[in-house]
Amino acid sequence: MRKFDTKVQHLKYKVLREVARHAWNDTLLQNVMDLPHMIIPGKIPTMRCCVYKERAILGKRVKMAMGGDRNNPNVIQVIDIACDECPGAGYEVTDSCRGCIAHRCEDVCKRGAISFDHNHVAHIDKSKCVECGKCAQVCPYAAIIDRKRPCQIACKVKAISIDEEKSAAKIDNDKCIQCGACVYQCPFGAITDKSFILDAIDLIKNSKENTEYKVYALVAPSISSQFSYAKLGQVVAGLKHLGFHTVIEAALGADMVAQAESRELAEKGFLTSSCCPAFVQYIKSSFPDLLPLVSHNLSPMATLAQHIKKIDETAKIVFVGPCTAKKAEAQLDSVKDLVDVVITFEELQALFDSRDFDITTLEEEVLDNASYYGRIFARSGGLSDAVAEGLLEQGIEFDLKPAVCNGIEECRMALLKKSKNVLQENFIEGMACVGGCIGGAGCLTHGTKDLAEVDKYGREAFEKSINDAVSMLK
């Protein structure tokens, strides 16, 4: 069965897998220069103009798999030489223009930017065009298109521009929220997230089979929509097979957050959620005035990590999720002592395969720590449902009016309204990825069934209420 959505992901996976394979065997240093040739053998190029360019880019991918550029604080990075300099010229007439005589495009253009050559074919004068798009709308042959770079379309916070000197995409670190949308969307795989799998492997190896200290894997609830070729219990077994001491649902942290957040909301009267690190980063960079309204709760990942480290002081925590922004969250001062490493589902697949075992052959293990409500945090709307339940269970009277923001554009609208004091709702649930965490850039696959999978997984929870799940911790 297909494990990935795109071949770009598959290429990235192959690099991660080989880097991991050598790391387990302590042979990475001797072999790091040979990896590009090993992954791309032969003389016939399959992706670029020649195999030498392919290998040069692969060398950069190896570097990203090993943690990337340490001087760049951003966990999302452009691989300059991999950027294909997609045309981003805006509105252009294609050769579908038939040179008709109606000239609707000319009539509709208020700027007079359209002229015709001797074949009656339309041309756009770029010095006059204001990119309104009216000409494209009226052309009966759909001959006028808007050429935009996929990375710039993906980046709704407008952090990507083109570096003219390098002729490659450039990320504005002050605007970037690390959501990873560009990583998933770039058709050439030229933007990618730094990987910290080497840190995870080191943690596991140095634990001496969990005798020096124990390594805990916290898995995000969106895992229910992933690894669909195997059973969830087999993924849990696979994690233990890799050398993790145990696997705990990050959704239990979500239960804890739902309980605390509903109390905080009732107390303050207005809140925005703090679970999605990309959303919080967006408020920091674009709506700093609204920062006091952000919930003071740590994210579910950090909340649970904090709890585990209270019980087991030497514990090491590896978070496994769909999210590239979590990698940045784990570097924040408030979180860096709680969560040791963040890896994605993509990277987990590479780790499994670097040890050459097939999780579908493993005996299923159980995973059950959280309630229905903690588990549905993985999808848009789940957090609001959980806060409503938290209010109800704790007998708090508060008229919850949630603004469920699905994707960063909806978040922007709600925050904009709030900054102008015209927002009707009293709770903003902000999720940077469309669909919620199941739409995260670190997911192996993205599908229409993912939402149903999360709800199904939620209903399978042993504990039905947040109270039941959280009361265990006291």
Binding site: N210, T246, I248, E249, V366, D368, N369, S471, M472
Partner: protein, 86 residues
């Protein structure tokens, strides 16, 4: 005395929730609040098919169920506390 009831996935599904409640009421009943610190722990690595894992100081006991809880408590908690007091 520190009593840790495992609330990892395996024990959770075998009823650690009930065991925690039983433990709380037993501690109250015998007025041991001063002597016992009750807390949860994640997997101790002794998962089994019968029941819940409980760690009393350094001793690990596996397979505790609702039915065997009373005996467990008498033998491994009450008796130990009595021994310590004497």
């Amino acid at each position: 005395m520190i009593i840790q009831v495992c609330i990892g996935s395996s024990c959770h599904l075998k009823g650690s929730h009930d065991i925690v409640e039983l433990m709380q009421s037993a501690i109250e009943e015998h007025h041991l609040q001063e002597d016992v610190t009750l807390c949860g722990s994640f997997c101790i690595g002794k998962c089994n098919r019968i029941g819940v894992t409980i760690q009393v100081d350094d001793e690990i006991h596996v397979g505790v169920t609702k039915e065997t809880f009373k005996d467990f408590f008498a033998e491994h908690v009450l008796q130990r506390i009595n021994n310590e007091r004497n």
